[in-house]
């Protein structure tokens, strides 16, 4: 039987706290769900400027340095009380066109794994993905849930421009490009789902802890 180890908590600065639950004993996704639960608990307080979950850790930015000392023990107490199910999330369906001009690398991915293009689209769209956290660029989601049979190395030479909405595989991850940008991932499809719109009241359609699935609109050869 494994006992969960206590997370590490430290003050990064006079007004920020790093809460690290990596290698606490639970599996990564269970730990991550508790991180989301702790983040949502903290959102109910006015003490924080920013609450940023990442990979099995949480960084909290406080309004006032005076608030720091109280939160160090309080976070740990909450961690022990919270359950992995204690958070609210939304589910998103992303209608996706696979292959053809929308997914110029799907044939390469299929060949790499000895699969057909249809099988790649089927496998990619039959999984439920968790939004672990956002980062790298506004609206870029780090997703958990890619079928290991689809793990594919990145391009040796990144493309200078990958269109906004491209659905891609990079190593052990899959993701969606929120804006057109350079990128080295294998592009397998495209979604019109608007991940990020800076002029919208809430610019980002998805939040850490949400789940999403890709729904096949068509598979082009």
């Amino acid at each position: 039987m494994t006992t969960d180890r206590t997370p590490k908590i430290m003050a990064l600065t006079t007004h920020s706290i790093f809460f690290d639950a990596y290698e606490t004993g639970s599996d990564t996704l269970t730990t991550q769900k508790k991180i989301w639960a702790l983040a949502q608990y903290c959102q109910s307080s006015d003490d924080f400027v920013d609450i940023v979950p990442a990979n099995n850790n949480l960084t909290l930015y406080l309004n006032e340095p005076a608030q720091l000392a109280g939160w160090l023990p309080r976070l740990l107490d909450q961690w022990h009380e919270l359950k992995a199910s204690d958070f609210n999330s939304r589910h998103h369906k992303l209608t996706t066109r696979y292959g053809g001009e929308y997914g110029p690398d799907i044939a390469h991915v299929a060949k790499h794994h000895n699969l057909s293009v249809d099988e790649v689209a089927q496998m990619h769209s039959s999984a439920k993905y968790h939004v672990l956290f956002l980062g790298f660029k506004p609206g870029f989601a780090y997703l958990d849930g890619l079928n290991p049979q689809l793990f594919t190395p990145r391009h040796a030479e990144p493309r200078l421009s990958v269109p906004k909405g491209s659905v891609a595989i990079g190593g052990e991850q899959t993701g969606i490009y929120p804006e057109s940008s350079p990128g080295g991932w294998q592009i397998i499809g495209h979604t019109d789902f608007r991940l990020f719109d800076i002029n919208a009241a809430s610019p980002c359609a998805i939040e850490p802890g949400d789940t999403l699935e890709f729904v096949i609109q068509e598979v082009l050869k």
Binding site: T13, T14, S16, L58, G135, K137, F140, P203, P208
Partner: protein
Amino acid sequence: MITIIKPGMQMSIQDQGRTGSRHLGIGQSGCIDPYAQIITNRLVGNDDNNPVIEITLGLAEIQFDNDYYIALHGTDMKATVNGNAVEPGWSFYIKKGDVLKLNAARHGFRSYLAIGGDWHLPDPILNSYSTDISAGFGGLTGQALQAGDSFEVTPKYNTKVGLGAMLPPKSTQIRIHAGPHAALLPKDTIVNFINHSWHVSPNSNRMGTRLLSDECDIRHTVSLPSMAVAPGCIQLPPNGEPIVLLNDAQTTGGYPLLGTVIEADLRHFAQLKPGDFLHFKFVTLKEAHAAQEKLTAHLNQLAIALNYINK
């Protein structure tokens, strides 16, 4: 109307930046030296968080199609108006049609231009007028200012003109907090980092100041789960060349941290130019807090003095 004739190396509209959206991958942006921004705004009678133009290196020209109170602060770029020298740190009156010319900075890297009045910019994004150059939003066009860009400022003359104020002193000794990864890095990494001087790489920008050393080898192979990062985090990529993250940095990263620059010393990175040397010193939370209080006191004293003068 304010018209950019020559933007120089880089010029952008910044205020104190945006908060509250880091979990969506949206960074802070904002002036690298927020104290210069506040003080310069106060000299022309603007609110503290009014946007200013952050000017990097100089070699720039700006035209004014109205009479304004303006002030420049930060490093001395040997500015002139109609051939007359303009001293940094003083407000002055600029007349319709005048062109402010900036030469190259020699002892620093950035200066801040405040223009007294109401700035007519596109609506703020997430409560900030700051330009997020890498993501392409905010400011005037979402980009650094270009030759020919112009925007309206309705002038206000609600202060006395000819006022001067000093910035808090410069330093190349940067005070830092201990980071979370000391024990994961090869032995002596932190000691070597602290005991050596570093110089600023030409490859530095508003995302981060990249550091080089000819004497110190702190390469490593440590790989970590991603964590949130923010301005001040000192990342150590495997090549052993530390990066001090600044205002345009991304919100998450996977490199180990050597430490975090105390908030009071982040402003120094506005003036560090390629080739400049700096070194780091660990301080306690208490010392960092005291440094912050000292800057707050500097601003409070200025507020008292300006209140008195403008009475």
